[in-house]
């Protein structure tokens, strides 16, 4: 355990020195790589180049896949956008209620409450499921 105390005592001042060094090099509080000198400035500029290269790669990769993926997803998008809007709420509420019914009626009570130390009604996780779900159900009904 003493080994870690020593670690902490060494690590904390080193990190704090890092804070002061970085912050004083950039007193405006706004990040600007060109204002930062020394090794840190060099590392930041290298990371800039890497990031720019990565963004260029993403553009190229996207243009490669676009002709293949657009014909697949355009019909799917059209199909979804045509679905009758009230179905959204019906599906959502069915999802919430169905989950509660699954726990309450489908799963065995011994499985649901396996491991409990005291067999009382308030430790029954089927009841916990319903109580924890009710606030969620309420907001979907309220903001429908």
């Amino acid at each position: 355990m003493k080994r870690y105390q020593t670690w902490r005592m060494i690590a904390a001042p080193v990190l704090l020195a890092g804070v002061l060094a970085q912050a004083q090099e950039n007193p405006a509080g706004r990040y600007a790589h060109e204002q930062v000198g020394g090794v840190l400035g060099f590392l930041l500029r290298v990371s800039d180049v890497i990031l720019d290269g990565w963004l260029a790669f993403l553009d190229w990769f996207g243009s490669l896949w676009a002709p293949l993926l657009h014909p697949v997803f355009s019909p799917l998008n059209r199909l979804l956008s045509g679905v009758y809007q009230p179905w959204a709420m019906i599906i959502t509420l069915a999802y919430f209620i169905g989950t509660m019914l699954w726990v309450g009626l489908v799963l065995r009570p011994s499985y649901v409450n396996n491991g409990r130390r005291q067999a009382a009604w308030y430790t029954d996780l089927r009841l916990w499921t319903v109580i924890s779900m009710l606030p969620h159900l309420f907001v979907y009904v309220y903001f429908r």
């Binding site: 870690y4 804070v19 970085q22 990040y31």
Partner: protein, 542 residues
Amino acid sequence: MFVQLHWIDIFIVLVYMVGCFVIGLYTTKYIDNAGDFFLAGKSLPFWAVGFSIVVSDIGATDFVGVAGNTYTYGVSAANFDWIGSMPAMIFAAFIFVPYFWRSGVFTIPEFLGRRYNAAVQLLNASIWIMVMLISLIMMLWTTADDLVRTMLGFNPYYTVWIMAVVTGIYTFSGGLSAVVMTDAVQLVVMYVSGLSLLALSLWEVGGWSSMRSAIESMGGPFEHHFEILLPNTHSAFPWSGIVFGLGVVLAIAYMSGNQSIVHRTLGARTEWDAKAGMLLGGFLKSFIPVMVALPGLCALVYLPHAIQNNPDAVPAEMYQMVDTAAGQVPVLNERDRVVPTMMRLMLPPGLQGLMLAGLLAALMSSISGTLSSASTIFVTDIYNRGRQLLGFKALNEKTALYWGRGFTAFLIIASSLLAPQFDRVDGLYNFIQTVLSLFQGPTLAILLLGILWPRANRWGALAGLILGVLFCFAMWCVPDLFPAEDPFLYIAMYSFIFALVVTVAVSLLTPPEPEEKIRGLVWSSVVHDPEAQEALKARIEA
């Protein structure tokens, strides 16, 4: 322009920071081996598990990002904590958690390694480490730049490093026990401060009904602000993406396959505590949007009045005038600056310190949780597994503990150094969701098939994971592929289906896993086979 903190605010923040530090370090005395560090000695009660799940999940990015999204898109942004949590947490509680708990694993990749093979384990673990690093960076920079700098004008470098040092040291020392103990304190601070901001925001705008009618009268870009499920033609959160992409795929993948969440339940003292903790977490999470999203709505009404009364309240370059049915309304250019601006303009001394402490609590709990989980994954699934594959002995308890602590220190220092690079990212909440969506679908597909379908094998899982992530990446790179601005909801949905099909097809074309290998690792044998259950019980007790 910036808030001058009153002495009482500084006192509150200092008490909070020192308190967390002391509690975190106090738990060090209970840490003797890797099991204590990584799984808190399997001693956590349900309330600690539940509290910890909530505060680890909710970070300062939620306070800033969700409020910003609500300001721009309305209550539909709160879906991420409603349909994006509860049904999924119930599935996690009754399918995944007892299953992981009984099989005695430390991490999700470890389970995938046992069920499939080392390649799947290493790949999944490496992806998680990358994602956790990005999440850490985002959390640090958001708080430092968007929040603390906007509100107080502090240099973001100072803030990043101070947060990193305080949180890093107590996580480094106390592992999961320190994380969970400080999480309990942080939950209380977070709730008190969040509800204070909400109460004051509602007071300033004349109450809920008054605010609702004021926003509805604006029409135009604000006409859907009180609809939880938006039309499929909406550019931000169309309902099909929310219900299927978020509710069915992303949420279940997050609550069942995210080490930061599942980690707490694996440290529970009994299977019942693990499940009850997950349900308690779901209940507490239902109130999170009330605290983090509704202030974003209040800002739509409050900020125009504040600017009208005092044109210097918000710098002119920070907002633009938008035409609405109720006339021209000033709207902030960067939605992530909504909450900090509200806090600066609205909160009196004392509450500013409390709110700042609440936001720091949200940040620190998320950082410590991520650090603890990342170090567990690194040691268990990458370093130790890698050593075994290369023919070296497995790590003993003490050495695993050293490596866990060493990686914790490395990760927090690396995150702090890289944080300023994320200055370029706008809409940080969506950015994190996008990063998660790139592999959550494929991970859920192989996890689900691994648990439920004995025929799924290593080749199917490997193909499903690799091709699934590549497919996600291709969808993400192609512009305008989906109707949403940020297409992560659709990416998650389609990548899940794609990975499911690939895993099933490849598994059927290749030989099945031997029955002895998967015994106790698929649902039917874990739940229904008494012999497998006894074997698992003996392994856990050992």
